[in-house]
Amino acid sequence: MAYLSTTNYLEDKDFIDKWLYTMRTGEMDLSWMKAATEKVKPHEANSRRGLTYRDLDLGSYGFTGVPEKVRGNRSYAPRGAEIPAGVPDAQPWVSRKSEVWAFNTESYYEEAVSRQWNVTTDIPWERLDSVELPETIGKALSQLMTFLTEVEMIATDTPAMWLPRLNPDFIEVKAFIAAQAMDEARHTEAFRKRALTTGWGLMKASPVNEMALKHLRDADSFSEMSVALHLVAEGNVLTMFRFSEYLSPTDVDKRIFRLVMQDEARHVGYGMQHFKYVLENFPEKREVLHAHLDEAENISFAGSAATELTESFIILAGGGLKKENIEEGIKITTKFNLKQMEEHFERLDKCGMPERKQRSKLYQMYEMGRAAAEAAGIKL
């Protein structure tokens, strides 16, 4: 699969002689000085924010000017540079802007850069030293953390897989994806570290959710990947983090969930903006995305069969294994499940896919679940 450069530079006498000549005489070619590129002068729009990618949104360098179909660059050249003949083809799979773009991508990226946090030092781990959780809570927490450790890294692998496939002109999207990969590595780290500090270690894997992970990764296009990952999966996870913060048995856990939520909200934000963008700018894609959502929602529903997760959630929510704990836990978990689905459809609605509800089997499940919950006296 290797690529070999069109020239072996060791054997390129002209190349070496020219280099030697420059070094010996100081006479330079300087043709790059005449590069036919635009001269611009960006300024910090806001000195507190510093020099942002948005400040560079100027002329041929800007992201606003990137056309729907990028025809002019298939190399590793930065957008706006002069591209001479002979540069290689980077083999991008995606050169269509509406397949990847999202309003605000550059700001999501810059926010990610400025909000990097460190699991090692930003979580007060030492406070756990004096914490002895009851066995039920400790194990339930460990089981939840096992699941979260398992799922977080897919949110690294999936966008990373697409990163080199994106045309280099989409540099802000590539940067956002790289930042997301780092965010997700950090989430994996946070949850793994927490599982290994409970005293119970990691627990059981979640085969049903693993199926979901493979589905997330193996999409046919970036947009389909993004709707399944950023909108469905990370949307679900965001709701889950909010509930998990609420049911956290210690302040340390609360802090973990608050920090991961910041990052996750950014990923979902990008996903929503991209979904909106693709629907508006690539209308033919709507049906494809519906079809992918059919699959994504099926798999999302399958998650309810992940007993190891539901049960640990119930225990954490109810505070234990006694009858009254379980009853309370079921109420909260029911609310959580319904909230997750409700927010999912709200997001699709906001992004410009209100018709999803009519088509979606998951929405039927939601309505049935909601009616049953109300009949059981669970207030949403």
Partner: protein, 372 residues
């Protein structure tokens, strides 16, 4: 390539029954006695926090990852109990020697603790207050155009491999994510610097990009890592150090200070990986040596790119006057000797003995440096 669930769960009666059982309070608790090791990790040094090294415990530890991973192909967290029907994710890097480095967890921790933000940590407005002479600014815009090509390819390299690496190498994969992020950040900083001086971007480099693609598309991870992490990381480090020393502005000095830190980590990992690989796979030594022989012409493609070498001469000498160019050439000759000798030192320290003496590029670079 799409992967579909094995059935329609929304119409599957067994799923409904299972969910109903649990939601009516009949918990199975089948997970409650997971067959996993019980540990309670602690930070060994409170000042440092809870590191991955602190959790290198028993079956969870990275020290106990075997050389060949035969039984994990899913996303299951290393050390948790596997059961049921787990998917095969199709990883192709399943041997520890092909990916690991003894310094990888250390580098990951260091990476996180040295975060910086190009938008605010570089005094960009200083370039407005103290503008640089036109030829030097043009040289900067060209140099930073070249550096963006290097950063982009390095970012693509980590991204290209991370989904192919077995999930059991979680610390190493996390490091690769940090690499991706590092290069995105450097790419951002280089782009901002190239544009904020007012000279626009320069020209992409044919020799540079041809070489970069050859390194990026290497057919195995150890080879690609040698090229991208050790060799390219080393070149970028050498450029950044050199430009920091001859910085035409405060912006360049500050920016290159950060860029040196970041690229030094890439090189450290590249060296560590190569050492680990050759230590654990001595039979691969000659194949690796042959790969280096075949691909090190790319060092020339990069170092000899007019899009790199000419702006470097101008920046180092401080301009285009004869005496400035003279001084620039002398400085660049030193840069070339240093870049190349550090490259050989790294290769030799990692186990490719006598790399310098057998290399065909060493005499070329020496001849060119001596010419100055």
């Amino acid at each position: 390539m799409a992967f579909y669930a094995d059935k329609d769960y929304t119409t599957d009666q067994t799923v409904f029954e299972a969910v109903n059982q649990v939601m009516s309070g009949n918990l199975t608790l089948f997970w409650y006695d997971a067959k996993t090791e019980k540990v309670k990790g602690k930070p060994t040094d409170l000042r440092r926090g809870l590191t991955y090294k602190d959790l290198d415990l028993g079956s969870y530890g990275y020290s106990s990852i075997p050389e060949n991973l035969r039984t994990s192909q899913s996303m299951v967290a290393r050390g948790s109990e596997k059961w049921g029907n787990l998917p095969d994710m199709g990883y192709v890097v399943n041997r520890k020697s092909e990916i690991w480095a003894d310094n990888v967890t250390y580098l990951y921790e260091e990476d996180k603790s040295r975060r910086w933000t190009p938008a605010v940590d570089v005094p960009w407005s200083d370039l407005d207050a103290h503008p640089i002479a036109a030829p030097i600014e043009a040289a900067c815009s060209q140099l930073y155009t070249f550096l963006q090509e290097c950063a982009l390819v390095s970012m693509d390299f980590a991204a290209r491999w991370v989904p192919l690496v077995n999930q059991d190498f979680i610390e190493q994969k996390s490091w690769m994510c940090a690499q991706m992020f590092n290069w995105a950040r450097l790419n951002e900083a280089f782009r901002k610097r190239a544009l904020c001086g007012g000279a626009g971007l320069g020209r992409a480099s044919v020799s540079g990009e041809q070489g970069l693609k050859e390194w990026l598309w290497a057919d195995s991870y150890p080879k690609g890592s040698l090229s991208i992490n050790l060799s390219l990381g080393g070149i970028v480090l050498a450029i950044c150090r050199h430009v920091a020393a001859f910085a035409p502005s405060k912006v360049d000095r500050v920016l290159m200070g950060y860029a040196m830190q970041d690229s030094a980590r890439q090189t450290a990992y590249g060296s560590g990986q190569l050492r680990y690989y050759l230590t654990h796979r001595p039979a691969e030594m000659s194949a690796m040596q042959e790969y280096v022989d075949d691909s090190e012409h790319v060092m020339l493609a990069l170092l000899g790119s007019p899009e790199l070498i000419e702006p470097l001469i101008i920046i180092s000498g401080g301009g285009l006057q004869k005496d400035q160019v003279q001084a620039g050439r002398a400085a660049v000759a030193k840069f070339l000797r240093l870049a190349i000798s550090e490259y050989f030192e790294r290769l030799e320290a990692a186990g490719l003995a006598a790399s310098r003496t057998r290399s065909r590029i060493a005499p070329v670079v020496e001849r060119i440096s001596a010419a100055a």
